[in-house]
Symmetry: C2
Subunit: 735 residues, 2 copies
Amino acid sequence: MNAKGRVTLPIEQGMDDQLPGILSRLGADAVRNSDGTWLPEITAQLGVKVYETYFPARGQQDFALANPDARPRFYLMSERVAAPATGPLSIDIMKGYYKLQVEPDQGNLRRWWEVIDRTTGEVVPVDGWTVEGEGVDVTVTVAEPVPFHVYTVNFLAWQVWDSTQMYNYITNNWWDDESRVREIGYDARHPVAWEFMKSSLRAWCEERPEVDVVRFTTFFYHFTLVFNDLGKEKYVDWFGYSTSVNPLAMEAFEQEYGYQLRAEDFVDQGFYNSSFRVPSKVFRDWIEFTTRFVCSRVKELVDIVHEFGKEALMFLGDNWMGTEPYGELFASTGIDGVVGSVGSSATCRMISDIPGVKFTEGRFLPHFFPDVFRPGGDPLAEANESWLLARRAIARKPLDRIGYGGYLSLAVQFPDFMARVEQICDEFRSIHDEGQGRRPQDAPIRVAILNAWGRKRTWMTHMVAHALWYKQIYSYLGVIEALAGLPFDLKFISFDDARDGRLADFDVVLNVGAAETAFSGGSEWLDESLAVALRRFVHEGGGLIGIGEPTAVLANGAYFQLSDVLGVDKELGISLSTDRYPVEQPQHFITADLDDAAKVDVGEGAGDIFAVNDDTQILRLTDKSVDLATRETGNGRAVYVAGLPYSFDNARLLHRAIYWAAGREADFDAHWVPSDPGVEIAVFPEAGKAFVMNNRTDATSTTVSGRAKGLADGGDLTALTLDLEPMESRWIDLA
Amino acid sequence: MNAKGRVTLPIEQGMDDQLPGILSRLGADAVRNSDGTWLPEITAQLGVKVYETYFPARGQQDFALANPDARPRFYLMSERVAAPATGPLSIDIMKGYYKLQVEPDQGNLRRWWEVIDRTTGEVVPVDGWTVEGEGVDVTVTVAEPVPFHVYTVNFLAWQVWDSTQMYNYITNNWWDDESRVREIGYDARHPVAWEFMKSSLRAWCEERPEVDVVRFTTFFYHFTLVFNDLGKEKYVDWFGYSTSVNPLAMEAFEQEYGYQLRAEDFVDQGFYNSSFRVPSKVFRDWIEFTTRFVCSRVKELVDIVHEFGKEALMFLGDNWMGTEPYGELFASTGIDGVVGSVGSSATCRMISDIPGVKFTEGRFLPHFFPDVFRPGGDPLAEANESWLLARRAIARKPLDRIGYGGYLSLAVQFPDFMARVEQICDEFRSIHDEGQGRRPQDAPIRVAILNAWGRKRTWMTHMVAHALWYKQIYSYLGVIEALAGLPFDLKFISFDDARDGRLADFDVVLNVGAAETAFSGGSEWLDESLAVALRRFVHEGGGLIGIGEPTAVLANGAYFQLSDVLGVDKELGISLSTDRYPVEQPQHFITADLDDAAKVDVGEGAGDIFAVNDDTQILRLTDKSVDLATRETGNGRAVYVAGLPYSFDNARLLHRAIYWAAGREADFDAHWVPSDPGVEIAVFPEAGKAFVMNNRTDATSTTVSGRAKGLADGGDLTALTLDLEPMESRWIDLA
């Protein structure tokens, strides 16, 4: 049944005897090299596609050294320093920065640098400060600062070491390896660099007839990655645009947009326009401007690749700024595919949902690296954990391909692991084969996540670089992690979309996040038209789900600006004089699969939440604070949850909350939802089948009922009991 | 040794044989009746002073019924109601209010009422709304509301039931007691009421030659106490001025201050100017205006009392608004004494520190009421708990008198309790006798708490009515509770004081509280002159201690506006891209009496706190969040604590933090501070003695060292080991 293919494997020299067998066993139809390995000569005879990595903006050190003006730049902010009681203030602008990475660019600095009084926000006139020193030792002196005001310097700087190579160099401790140089990048804005990039690529393609797929890692501008004076990460933003800035670009921007950019537009008080910040108009303009530039240049490179009959694959990471895979220009680049690392259900969907490409590929964990593939390591457990999270996302929207990275010679020393990878590859292909490549059926409920970014950050909300665990985000990341495997056609919409009437396209809207962030909305809620749009939406029958500090900004006697709709608000300590008599009424459709007496895991919670309406039903209350509440208002409904880390129970809670908010709870029991929240089902009614996944590492038995038409009305109800092995997936017939 | 006196006891009829013995045993020199008891005929022969309660503004129902225009009023806000998609919006303004307490006052309502669009904050023009109904059924209709905007009505209402009497009536369930009427109050602003108040008091005094002390309970305006439609408390603010409002007063205010008052000035978006709100200028003006009125009228009543050779005692509570015991006018009233309920060290100091009165009296717990004095009740434990908290405050600033309330006939059934009260009375008097009525010696460190209220709310910060435990305040109340028993001459100063240069009068300044509150400061910190004053203060050698969310308002890239001084700031979720590498360095002078490995109890904490400077020393870190940190900057020092609920350890932590912040840590070991934080010592060098208190209910042994001059320099160091019985206090010689 399982046609082979859809799998990319890293191979290396010295395994010629084993390779055909391994490739055949896993059904791999493409191979790649890894850092430090080379494709063996046998490759051409393996009958598989060949991927090879390509770096357009670094790696050719001779060119870089010969063209220092073409180095990329970024904007940085000095430390905050208070002025003394009398006299001038000197600021060592490089304090805290890594001198092997950062070198102040003093070119035309009266235009490009800024000194700001951070106590008032005022800019110090350019004749009010002077610069001494050169290279990496630079001091700015404010002649007449206001005593005890705090000042900072926004300065433009050269990136004198490529960010990714620097990261790898430092992480792998290459200091004593004389074969390694500290690679310098070059900026596609610079005309000489751009011509060099094109000719280099052309020459590279010519020299490599054996390569079928050029794996771009990546294009021009690296996400923001700045190191501190100890050579450790100081600031890292996977969505940051700080490195896309240079005077040529800023001048072109001014020509086009009709206004001048300031250093502060990039420095942003030291927040550097993190995606957690409510984005300014200038920053949005800059993203649009940069994306137009990047995508047009990417198209030229892709065209060269295509000229040689090769495919262009983009790695989703590193120098990916300005490609904006969920932007409107991405498809116009002609890129054939996108490959990215799969660390969770949400990151899997972030790749598989990218529109306009021929294929998407997920690089699975664990990497075949010695940190896991060592005596005592447990690569099998990591493979299982990763696969269980990926599988539920793939079942909702298949990746076209999967693959691994690292050293195959390490992996083959773990036969249990290789056997599991074989199963995973087969299981992955089965989803394509049985599901006929289509998405499974969604529930008839149109769901949107509403935040400041909208579609541009589809599946990218609440993420911090390296998918690290952060106390401030796991309670919100859990929402998109849950949704990545739930049967809804989720859209990400912006506040502008909401103001422009797009709420009418949805049945249920979620606003998720901490106050003051782009995801909750912060100051956006001071624009009353936004609250009005949402209130109208719910009044007319819509469902609103607020998680954490939804619609939060303190104004006009409320903190949650839709407290009247949600039925709850947050106590900031200024309304303690109001008496409250919260009563828990735990029984509800939303929590029907949970124990009525059990707390819901709301993660970090949201502080003290209280009910503002008598008709708010408090489903869970902890220390007099509302964890979970529902409310019916107008023709619509609202649900509040204080936080939602990902778990089977919380995913089920959200699944039911969406049905209830949409007023569709009567359908739930016929929609193929297993009684065990640890089991999920993707329904393919056109194929007459459903894909059952036991997400648990234990065996389980669960009941489920549904109709042959899946999540559509009509027909008899079938009720089943399913006994499932640990992690088992199974195709069942719907009728 | 113990001279008798300084104790007030409630007595009653039917105990004539016992009374002389009890009074003698306790050394009581004053007696009072209680609710529902009468003084026995024997009273005159007991040789003690006689107190009797007097209510100037209620209790004479015939007058009240005959003068409904003299009833007091208050400002209330309706529920927040969203306008429909089309058509008018009708708001039932009494929804949620108690119709036996509240009756809308429709007099000249176009002037005194306001309808506000709470989505924009705009006032609806008076011709845009109409009022239907009368009595307690009143509806306001907005003719053309903006669809889906939220509206409220600010309305003036009659108080048709006196708040305290209502509270007692409902709490004690007097509904079926025909002897009880629902008492109506009267307002001293009303000329007829005022004349009646004076003549009534005069008549009352004439009729009661046996009364020595008139115990006013209290004067004119009750703290804000509003009930809901179920007859339960809806809004209660012990510092609230909502009930002091009426058209006569508002017109007089306008005459005097030159601007018109609005309903919203009192309603304040529904926060009603709670003392947790950063006070507006209008509200400050209103307090000043009302206080001037109240104090001048109180003086007239006190003069009448004095005419009859009696003393005037004010109960600190109920109708106390406008007396402002820490205001500048209070002494001018001529009130002889203040009595208040002692529930903690801080409430004890709140009474004993009132300036300008001849005596202060604390009413101790437990009340001789059947809820405690019943079979199975443990009045002894309550007496001990209450006394241990009161004693450490009394040792710092003695109350002049103590007393009890309730039914003596109940208390005498608990001989253990009565024996303990006898000890307490003796112990209390010993503090006066041995300490010669003076305050003990303070540490040579001048300490201030800085908030929006300053002196006016001395010992009254962070308090919510009934001293209830609130999740939002116990982590801050602990600070003043600790300070109430520590050897510092604490002052409460306002942000205006700080701007006006008064910081120079202090060595250490504390800013304590949650963001957005009057105690932390909220928007006050947007005025840069405040941050500058503090920065200068520390730079010049001052100590700054921030607890919770000090100086917090999000502006110019910082949340704590003095993050550069404190060395810490709070992560709101918008700077997660900045890497942090916090390292705990637990050993420090501040925590020397605690276990280095033990967490400090910071109560609710303050969220995610991170160090912003390399030179911030993190003393305690929990889940990567800073609980406790210190920093040296300029010539000064800063300490940050995430929260400080009261405990022996936390009081000691604060004690040491103040010494360290002041740069006086070298003196600490010679300042008579016991090694056991559960023991405190008040030093009276002029008497050559010190008062040692074991605050523990267990025995303890502790070492201590100090000099004969106490906390002043010079002389030999004496080191002692003290073995103390549970709760023991003891006078020791200093040399």
